[in-house]
Amino acid sequence: MSTPTPAASENPKILVLGVGNLLMQDEGIGVHVARVLSERYAFDPEVDIVDGGTAGLELIDKIDEREQVLIVDAVDFDLKPGSMIKLQNDEINAQLQDKMSLHHLGLTDVLSAAKLLDIQPREICLIGIQPHAMEVEVGLSPVITARFEEVLDGVVRQLVQWGVWVTRNHDELQEAIG
């Protein structure tokens, strides 16, 4: 993370926040997405991509002074593993309230605390991925690994919808071409 400065207003207006626990397989999907996203793509206008890990209320600072926030996390919706769900604004807390989902220490708490503090981005979008396995183990399960590109694609499409110009980094492209 960068050194905090008093001038937080210079931050990009769009934030992608990947949250989750890297030590628990698919629970870490949000963090994996954030990492690959920042390695592989360039964004115009600039997008802030943050590995939120298992942090809680610290994330309020990150949400502050943004216009659009895209959160990526594992969510248990009793769907087929790898299914993606998109929730927006008030739907997020309404839908997640009773779910023993994600890393529950924080996301809904962070969002409701932010609301109480009048920190309200114009748009908050959650892309939730139904996990397959969440044992204590590093790395995504094969099931979710197989769906990873689709998840990434979903996240990129959301950014495009928000008017962001997304391009693949040159080096990555070279590597892909071989």
């Binding site: 993370m1 809680g56 209320l57 600072d61 890393h103 924080g106 962070v110 409701s112 503090l117």
Partner: protein, 570 residues
């Protein structure tokens, strides 16, 4: 009829604690505290370079993050008989103080106040009356009618939407909730304001430590902060004065809001001054070293026997034998191989899981003892120790808090009232004020020392051949923390962390005496078994670094109800 309440983890991130309570006729009659998670950091460290141990130990927790880093470098420096530059002491001290303030503030307002404050009741309050009351208690400038009206509207909006969000887990309307609506509104308003101030405290940690959670600026031998008042790339005057502005703001909130709120809540809940004492042997250590060797400290610490502050025996230096010889751990009731009581240097950590056996082994936590007796650690132990030693800031703030409580409650409340669940909250507030004084002092000393031309922040450690042993201690937010290291030929041979929650949450010891959590629960009332708020109040008063759920079982151990609660991590 005997019933059983179990507090068990549910979340996947934290959740290491399980508390079992036996309830008879509305009172807790027996209790077991069980750590449900294997730590293993000590095993990982074997064979590692002692200079990097702090990076690993810091990952023991994501909340009390700085403390294991600070204590680890102190342990290795102790083993090498090192001194460190005073600038490094001051910078570490400022991090310690700011982190502690942040941690205590979050604990009171965001993690435990809702055990006592009924947010829904605040909707019934008259903002004008609440404002009058608040202004009679404190000169804080954000206690106006307008302020309280806005807060009440916000809360109403939350309740109307059916999404209580951050307040969802509270026991609203519980018969043990007795604050008048106006006090609830006042507390709710300060709950929201506290978000801002805890962020400021945490910002100090991140500026000095480069990152939070988990600071990055430590080194065995000092700190890695380059100091240069004129450079943009170093700790300079611009950064330092920014820190100073935050120190001032935090200080006003602590003195005019936090201390006052705790006194008010304590006064209204004065019955709770009689519950939750438990183990009254108190252990704390001195901290805020101001000389290179760690022989002079900003805050005193030591040992108090049987709740009698007259028995206070000080711990005097980082090399103190009274501390070093006193600490032992037992595994009689813990899931480790064997049945021994040993000094940390001689311990091993070989797992032997047996399932929960209430008369045998039932916890991953070892049971520490001080000269053979269980001891309570934490802000209460620390404040009692500092009070006994006559520390001026402690005496000033403790007396101030007790006077407020007495005035609001209409009865004289003395220092002995602190041996209780609510007393732990009061002590934590007093300690926060003392930490603020330390933050100010260390800032001043750092600035003056830099102005005198001393920019040193690091002494290079050298590791001789052969074996060295060392220990480091730190008065962390949850209490006395110590790390113990054995180094052989420059590599870690053995490492043990005896953490505050081990002292407090430990199971029965070698003599089958109850640990502090366990003992504090015995005698607690339980008004509504489905909502054992009172058990939570006592456990939360220790500030456990855990998330848990409450399980209520009937005689056949069948679950009647289950209540989730987060105690930390946010």
């Amino acid at each position: 009829m005997a019933k059983r309440i179990t507090v068990d983890p549910v979340t996947r991130i934290e959740g290491h604690l399980r508390i079992d309570c036996e309830v008879n006729n509305g009172k807790v009659t027996n209790a077991w505290s069980s750590g449900q998670m294997w730590r293993g950091i000590e095993t990982i460290l074997q064979g590692h370079d002692p200079r990097e141990a702090w990076i690993y130990t810091q990952r023991i927790c994501g909340v009390c993050t700085t403390v294991h880093a600070i204590t680890s470098v102190r342990a290795v420096e102790n083993a090498l008989d090192m001194e460190i530059p005073v600038n490094a002491q001051y910078i570490r001290n400022m991090i310690i103080a700011a982190h502690g303030i942040h941690d205590h503030m979050v604990h009171f307002y965001h993690l435990s106040a809702l055990d006592w404050v009924d947010v829904v009741s605040a909707l019934k309050a008259s903002p004008k009356k609440a404002s009058n009351l608040a202004q009679s208690l404190s000169g804080w400038d954000k206690n106006g009618v307008e302020e309280f009206t806005v807060v009440q509207k916000k809360l109403q909006g939350f309740v109307d939407s059916g999404q209580l969000g951050i307040f969802a887990n509270g026991y609203w309307g519980h018969p043990a909730m007795i604050l008048p609506p106006e006090v609830n509104l006042l507390a709710a308003a300060h709950y929201l304001q506290a978000f801002d101030y805890q962020r400021k405290a945490n910002k100090i940690v991140s500026i000095l430590g480069s990152k939070t959670p988990h600071i990055q600026n430590l080194a065995v031998g000092g700190v890695a902060n380059p100091i240069n008042p004129d450079s943009e790339d170093a700790l300079n005057m611009e950064r330092l004065s920014y820190i100073k502005s935050m120190i001032d703001e935090i200080g006003s909130f602590i003195e005019q809001v936090y201390l006052i709120d705790v006194a008010a809540v304590g006064a209204f809940y004065k019955d709770w001054l009689n519950y939750g004492s438990g183990v009254t042997n108190y252990l704390s250590v001195p901290d805020f070293p101001i000389d290179p060797a760690g022989t002079k400290f900003g805050t005193p610490g030591g040992y108090i026997k049987n709740g009698d502050v007259g028995t206070f025996q000080p711990i005097k230096s980082f090399r103190d034998d009274f501390f070093k010889e006193g600490v032992k751990e037992s595994i009689k009731h813990s899931w480790y191989d064997g049945d021994w009581t040993r000094h940390p240097y001689d311990e091993d950590t070989i797992p032997n899981y047996t399932d929960f056996e209430e008369n045998g082994k039932y916890s991953w936590v070892k049971s520490p003892s001080y000269y053979g007796k269980p001891a309570q650690v934490g802000p209460l132990a620390n404040v009692l120790g500092m009070y006994a030693a006559g520390d001026p800031a402690t005496v000033k703030y403790a007396d101030l808090a007790l006077e407020k409580v007495s005035a609001i409650a209409g009865v004289k409340v003395g220092i002995e009232a602190l041996h209780s669940s609510i007393g732990r909250h009061a002590a934590r507030a007093v300690r926060t004020a003392v930490l603020y004084e330390q933050l100010k002092k260390n800032y001043q000393m750092l600035v003056e020392n830099i102005a005198s031309g001393d920019m040193d922040s690091f002494n290079k450690p050298t590791f001789p051949k052969g074996t060295q042993t060392g220990f480091g201690f730190h008065e962390a937010p949850r209490g006395t923390l110590s790390h113990w290291v054995v180094i052989k030929d420059g590599k870690i041979k053995n490492y043990q962390a005896v953490v505050p929650s081990t002292w407090n949450a430990g199971p029965r010891n070698q003599n089958d005496e109850l640990g502090p959590y366990e003992a504090s629960l015995v005698g607690n009332p339980v008004a509504v078994e489905e909502k054992p708020l009172e058990v939570l109040r006592t456990i939360h008063s220790f500030d456990p670094c855990l998330a848990c759920a409450i399980h209520l079982y009937d005689d056949k151990k069948e679950s009647i109800t289950r209540v989730n609660t987060n105690t930390c991590g946010i």
